[in-house]
């Protein structure tokens, strides 16, 4: 039987197919420019995870969280401790990721519970402190029992293995040559699809609406029967668990982690991605994360050659230019698009024909 689709659906499916193909071919194109670019893309996807997780807390429920990187750290250390020579444990990744997500979610509740009555600036300060506490613990939990190995960090973390194939090494599959980062890319792409679906469905659900209601007016939300205590903790836990998954993957990809990767700047960076993209809108947040992950890397590769060509010497370090542009971008954003590049628009709901007239 032939299915005749309306033109708008055809366009939609064609668009999806196009994006899917582009995403599948992307690592081959990037490899041509250098495997480093595939690695950068993988990190960008991890930042998309983190931004989407933080978006649940900040964008949906409206709770400003400046210590989000703590959950990333929890996920990363759970993976590292359960799959490295440090404790001699080598659990498979599909066992560790849920453990990491759960533990991060638990830490989310741990942060959420005492801060339920706080909002805005006050909440931001407490969460900032929480992030620092976690990092300092990781730095010092090498004594009296060596758990985290302190500032030296944990090394030789197992790569992800699927079947007999390690994602850390090059290999051939279906006659095509896949580098390690390329394999990770496809795994991350799969996880990303999952994360996006979970986010979209949460947003358009009873839970998502209740979060939005809390963000808009907490007192009114309570008065119509929303248990704000439970829902805020749920938002913290859900957001944190995304961070936990991202942390686990980070550990596996890098093979080495130390507390230095989980500093306040990272939290600020993730928050910037959410705000720059457009709080509350999944696609905006993704765009923000991709943009803020790639632009600095592009600068790194273009600033030096450009200055050499123009002035025959290096006048300004790439790092300086990065912060300069970042600051400028934020100022311009706040001036011209305060709701983000791609802000949340009112969603048009399709009326049921039976009751809609």
């Amino acid at each position: 039987m032939m299915m005749v689709l309306p033109p708008s659906r055809v366009k939609y499916f064609a668009g999806v197919a196009l994006v899917a193909t582009a995403l599948l071919v992307l690592p081959f194109a990037l490899s041509a420019a250098g495997t480093a670019w595939v690695r950068i893309t993988n990190l960008a996807i991890l930042f998309v995870f983190l931004s989407l997780g933080l978006n649940i807390v900040v964008g949906y429920a409206g709770l400003l969280d400046l210590g989000y990187v703590a959950f990333y750290a929890v996920g990363a250390y759970v993976y590292a401790l359960l799959a490295s020579p440090h404790f001699g444990m080598h659990l498979p990744f599909w066992v560790i990721l849920p453990i990491g997500a759960t533990l991060a979610g638990f830490f989310g509740v741990l942060l959420g519970a005492p801060t339920l009555k706080l909002r805005g600036d006050y909440l931001a300060i407490v969460t900032l402190g929480f992030g620092e506490i976690v990092r300092i613990f990781l730095n010092n939990l090498s004594q009296p029992i060596n758990i985290t190995n302190g500032p030296q960090g944990l090394a030789q973390i197992d790569p992800v293995r699927i079947g007999g194939m390690s994602l850390g090494q090059n290999g051939t599959l279906f006659g095509l040559n896949f580098s390690g980062p390329m394999k990770y890319y496809y795994l991350l792409l799969l996880l990303l699809l999952l994360v996006i679906v979970v986010n979209l469905r949460l947003q358009n659900s009873r839970i998502g609406r209740a979060w939005e209601a809390i963000r808009e007016d907490e007192m009114a939300a309570r008065a119509i029967g929303i248990n704000t205590t439970r829902l805020k903790l749920l938002a913290f836990a859900m957001g944190a668990s995304f961070g936990g998954v991202a942390g686990g993957m980070f550990s596996a990809i890098q093979g080495f982690i130390s507390p230095e990767s989980f500093v306040l700047t990272e939290s600020v960076m993730i928050l910037s991605m959410v705000v720059l993209g457009g709080m509350g809108n999944i696609w905006g947040v993704i765009a923000g994360a991709v943009l803020l992950s790639f632009v600095p890397e592009m600068l790194r590769y273009t600033v030096v050659p450009m200055q050499m060509a123009l002035f025959k010497r290096l006048l300004i370090e790439p790092e300086v230019i990065r912060m300069l542009l970042f600051g400028l971008a934020l100022v311009l954003m706040m001036r011209f698009r305060p709701a983000g590049l791609w802000p949340l628009r009112a969603r048009q709901r399709e009326f049921d024909k039976a009751v809609g007239e």
Partner: protein, 253 residues
């Protein structure tokens, strides 16, 4: 004689040294439109806030539908069947009118995170029912044509109506309206009167705080008068109007 739906038993509320409510006892009957009036600062809204669990009572309590009412948290009060609106409208400004009402169904629906993520048949059916009920309620209060507009873009009168629709979405037995006619013009007030009468005709009991004396006298079956946190009268409108204590409270001596 109709049965009592809500009874307040010696409700006191102190803010530090200020006695906002002192031994307020009143009875609201099933199916009644009950007015609560009094000069500014008499404690009307405080009584609302104590009743709906936003403030704890210093002493005293409520019976609702034949059982003691747990006023420990607002969502418990809403669950028991008391819904309210606010004096200064409190809508979810950046959500659409329809979504505002859909949030009101939260209390009577069940889908959790897992249901939302799996989006299984039960969740889809529930979402459908939530949306259908929300559209019905928008029709009921007469703003269905604004369903997809953000709440903040609605006119003042429509916002009041939307707040009532959102409260109705929680399936209340008692609807508590805090100055619903404040800032309304004559046409809007007349429409509000029709709406409130219709609600009562559909089986709801209504508790109304209002400054518009004409509206209160014409609409309410019985009226309680608060002054400096104490109840000085509770009677039918004609008698309340002639009560010397009430006249004194409003006009001074």
């Amino acid at each position: 004689m109709s049965t009592a739906l809500l009874e307040a038993n010696g409700v006191c509320k102190r803010f530090g040294g200020v006695r906002a409510l002192h031994k307020v006892s009143l009875t609201i009957h099933q199916g009644e439109i009950y007015g609560l009036i009094g000069p500014n600062g008499a404690g009307k809204t405080t009584l609302f806030n104590v009743l709906t669990g936003l403030y704890g009572a210093s002493s005293g309590g409520f019976n609702f539908a034949g059982a003691p009412l747990d006023i420990g948290a607002p969502h418990l009060v809403a669950k028991a069947g008391i819904a309210r609106t606010f004096q200064n409208i409190r809508l979810f400004a950046n959500m659409t009118a329809l979504e505002n009402v859909m949030v009101g169904r939260h209390l009577r629906t069940h889908a959790g995170v897992i249901g939302a993520v799996l989006f299984n048949a039960a969740t889809r059916a529930e979402e459908h029912a939530i949306q259908r009920r929300a559209v019905e309620l928008l029709h009921y209060v007469g703003i269905a044509d604004r369903a997809n507009d953000l709440a903040r873009n609605l006119s003042y009168g429509d916002q009041r109506r939307l707040e009532i629709a959102r409260a109705l979405a929680t399936d209340p037995k008692l609807l508590a309206l805090d100055e619903p006619a404040a800032g309304m013009n004559a046409t809007e007030t007349a429409a509000l009167r029709t709406l409130v009468r219709g609600l009562r005709a559909d089986g709801l009991t209504i508790l109304l705080i209002e400054h518009d004396v004409k509206l209160v006298m014409g609409l309410c079956d019985r009226i309680a008068v608060l002054d400096y946190g104490e109840m000085i009268a509770e009677d039918v409108p004609e008698k309340v109007q002639r009560n010397p204590k009430v006249i004194e409270a409003y006009l001074g001596t």
